[in-house]
Each structure stands twice: as C-alpha cells, then as structure tokens.
C-alpha cells in the first residue's frame, strides 16, 4: 500500500479501534496517529504524504506503528531490524525497551547475536525443530548462543 498516505497505512490494522458503527472517527484517528508518530519518532513531512516517499527505515517504523496502534500486550517481532540503518535500529531498541517497561511481552525473533544479547531476558535456541537450550540473563553470551545453535556441548573444544 505504498502509494497510500501515512495516515491510511497507520490506521489499517486498527480500523475497529478508531471507528464506531463502521464510521471512522477522524479526531480519534488523528490523536492515535500523532501519538504513534511521536512514540516511534517517524520522520515524515505530514500524515497526508505517501508512505512510498519515506525512507526505508521510516517505512519499517510505519509498519510497526500500524500494529502498535492496537496497544498489543504481546508483540511478535520477526527480524524487525533487517535492512534498516544503524540509527533507526538503535531507536527501535529503545522503543522495545519502552514497550516492555509499559508491560508488553515481546517475543523477538532474530538472527543477529548482538541484538539478542542486547535486548533479551531469555533466549530460546532452536535446533532441528526443537528448543535446544534456554539461556537466561548472564548466560546469554555469543559463545553459548552459537554453541547451542550448532548443537555443540558447551565447554568442549572442537579440536582438543
């Protein structure tokens, strides 16, 4: 829906929240949109500009904001930082922190070790269709992550 406006795109996932009896409440919509643009610091020239004209990182933020407008309690993120620049990545981490502090449960899928180490309380590592290992707090290290991802015993050197 790239040629459509930022406003339209942000509202799509939460149309039921901003409407009553099937009619959209423009004031309520605007309030939520302003809130989201503020929360995610989306850089846009206005809400009536096409999403396609924003930068990749800001488009990604619009997609995330679209769902956050539903005020979800559980958030599933599938590699949300793929293909966006370092600065925006940083902003996203801060946002996730904020959401978690506000009481949301975040399930975060990622292939980036540093990201997992930096963001997560608990990491479940999957191997061969099963949860191989659960790492909590201090245990989340790059070494532990890679070892369990490759299904190797911790502490054993591969070449003695």
């Amino acid at each position: 829906m790239l040629p459509m406006t930022v406003r339209d795109n942000l509202s799509f996932a939460s149309l039921h929240r901003i409407s009553s009896g099937g009619v959209i409440n423009r004031a309520k919509e605007q309030k939520l949109i302003d809130e989201m643009i503020g929360l995610l610091a989306i850089k846009t020239a206005g809400t009536d500009i096409a999403v396609g004209s924003l930068s990749g990182g800001n488009q990604q933020k619009v997609v995330i904001a679209k769902w956050l407008m539903n005020k979800p309690r559980i958030i599933l993120l599938n590699d949300p930082t793929r293909g966006i620049d370092v600065g925006t990545k940083q902003e996203l981490y801060v946002l996730l922190r904020k959401l978690a502090d506000a009481g949301a449960a975040i399930i975060f899928y990622s292939t980036d070790y540093d990201e997992l180490i930096g963001c997560c309380y608990r990491v479940l590592v999957l191997y061969d269709g099963k949860v191989k290992r659960e790492l909590v707090g201090e245990e989340i290290t790059e070494r532990a992550l890679i070892a369990s991802a490759l299904n190797m015993e911790m502490g054993k050197a591969l070449y003695p």
Partner: protein
C-alpha cells in the same frame, strides 16, 4: 493539521476531471444556439446524470482494482423493471422504487458473491452475469413499452426554483447518502486498501471480503438508481442491448477520465461523476457545432483520447518513482 499540498496531489485526478468538464461545458454552452440558459443546463444535466450514476457505480468497483462489466445491463434491467412497477397509487410507486433499487443491489451482490466466493476474475464473472441480467430485462420487456408515474418523473427531471435541475440535486443527494458515508467508513478505507495491494491489506487484517462485497452491492444499487432515472426520462422501459453495452464502456471511459486508476486504490466517485459529465458534454459538442451526427463516435473518441492523454502528461513530467508518490 492537514497539509493541503499533499491533499491536492492526492486528489489531482478529481480536480483534473472537474477542470476538463468546466472547459468542455463552457465551450458547449457558449456555442449553443440557446446560450447558457436554465433549459440548456437542465437538458444537459438530465443526460449527464444517467452516465454519472453508472460511472459512480463503476468507480466503486474500480477502486478495489476490480471491474464491473454488468453495470450497463443492471441499468437496463432496472429500467425495464421500473417501467412495470413504478406506477399506480403513491404507495405502489414507493414500493416500486424500493423493489427496483433492491433488485439493483441484489444484482451487484450476486456479482460480488461470485467474484469473492467463486473466486472468478471480475471481468469474466461480470460479462456472464451481465448477459443474465440482459436476458431478464428482455424477458420483462421483449418490446419497448410500459409507463412510469409521471408526477414523480417530472419532479425528478424538471427544475427546482426555475433554474436548478432536479436531476443534479438527486445526484448530489445520492453522493451525500452513498459516497460520503462510504468514503469515511471502515469499508471505504478497506476498499482503497484492497485496490492498492490486496496482499498487504490482508496482512494488515483489513476486512477484504466485506469491503469487496459492499462495493459490488453498492455498485449494483447505483446502477439501479441510474436505471430508475432512465425510466423517468424516457417514460418507458426498453431492453436495448446496444445502449446497455455503451453505458458499460462509457462508464469505464468516464471513470478513467475522472482520475480513478484502473489499477485500483486511487481516485474518487466525485472524479468519476465529473468524468461522466465531461464525457457527455464531449458527445454533445458535436451538435452545437452542427456536425453530421454520423461523426459523433469518431469525434467523441478523438476528444476522449486527448483528454486521457492530458492525464498522461503528468506521467511524462515525473523524473522518478518518488515524484509519483509526492
């Protein structure tokens, strides 16, 4: 706050259609032997309004990236029905009008159901249903005939306060009760989303099927309103194959002229209405310039081509994809 520049860019197609219409109408009325008078406006609007209703019906469907090739036939069918039903006592007339409109909506709903649940391509499905509707129309009126309540017909095709064409008021009323609520509703938003990208709309939890079904049904209803008005203008019902087909094709031309993208997700019914009025005026230009009527299709085609190309000049101006969105 709304940024007017972006809003204007988004509605460019609609303004373009209004512009084309105004230019055409000024040329038309300034060359008309009777000049710019209430009667000229009334006749022009009576003719234009018919296509405007059908174009509006088409626009709704085109916004969802579909197409309805049966609008002309629904228009014909409701015309034939109205020539049977809309006469007699006031109560019978009222019932007749309601039944005619419901039939229009039901035809649209059938189209929608076939396209959504039958998963057929809109083009093929509506060609088929269009043929069915025409068959029904022919069964109702094998020969032109019938009547319509003349008081109601004259009231809706005459003038209000001696200058305002009643048919234009009726058109404005329909826009007010159908298009305005539609464009502000969840369904309306969803229709644009479906037209823009059905996949993305689905992923965003937009009620796709409900939106499509609603647009096809409303489209049928609007075509029915058009058929009803045709009956008011002609006082008869006629299952005219050529005219039904012409209305279908003209409605598509009017929609494109009105800035509604055939790829969906862009444009408005208001644009389509002005596209229809402009298209009608183009056809009538010929009479005021006193050409042989045989030239009408050729002339109409050339002017239409020029008008649509004007829109394409916008494309040439664009340097890159970002410009297109801006």
């Amino acid at each position: 706050m709304k940024d007017w520049r972006f809003w204007f860019a988004e509605q460019r197609g609609t303004f373009m259609a209004i512009g084309i219409f105004l230019v055409m109408f000024v040329i038309y009325s300034s060359n008309h032997p009777a000049g710019f008078s209430a009667n000229v406006v009334q006749t022009a609007s009576n003719k234009g309004v018919l296509l405007a209703f059908v174009a509006m019906a088409q626009a709704l469907v085109v916004i969802t990236a579909g197409i309805d090739l049966s609008v002309g036939m629904i228009f014909t069918l409701t015309n034939c029905m109205a020539s049977w039903l809309v006469s007699g006592t006031p109560l019978q007339v009222a019932f007749g009008v309601i039944i005619v409109l419901l039939t229009g909506a039901a035809c649209g709903a059938l189209n929608g159901a076939i396209i959504i649940y039958g998963r057929l391509q809109p083009i093929v499905a509506t060609i088929a249903t269009g043929a069915i509707y025409y068959g029904l129309a022919l069964a109702l009126r094998p020969f032109p005939g019938g009547t319509v309540d003349e008081t109601l017909a004259d009231a809706l095709t005459g003038k209000l306060f001696h200058f305002l064409p009643a048919s234009l008021v009726a058109l404005a009323f329909v826009v007010l009760v159908v298009w305005i609520p539609f464009s502000r509703s969840v369904i309306g938003r969803a229709a644009y989303a479906v037209g823009s990208s059905e996949q993305a709309a689905y992923m965003s939890g937009v009620p796709i099927n409900r939106a499509k079904f609603a647009t096809y049904t409303l489209s049928g209803l609007l075509a029915g309103v058009g058929g009803l008005f045709l009956t008011f203008f002609t006082y008869t019902g006629e299952a005219a194959y050529a005219s039904g087909n012409a209305y279908t094709l003209f409605s598509i031309a009017a929609v494109v002229l009105g800035g509604v993208s055939l790829f969906g997700g862009k444009g408005s019914a208001i644009g389509a209405i002005f596209g229809a009025l402009a298209f009608r005026t183009i056809g009538d230009l010929l009479f005021v310039f006193d050409f042989d009527p045989l030239w009408q299709p050729l002339f109409q085609g050339v002017v239409l081509l020029i008008a649509v190309s004007l829109g394409a000049f916008g494309l040439l101006r664009i340097r890159n994809r970002l410009d297109w969105f801006g």
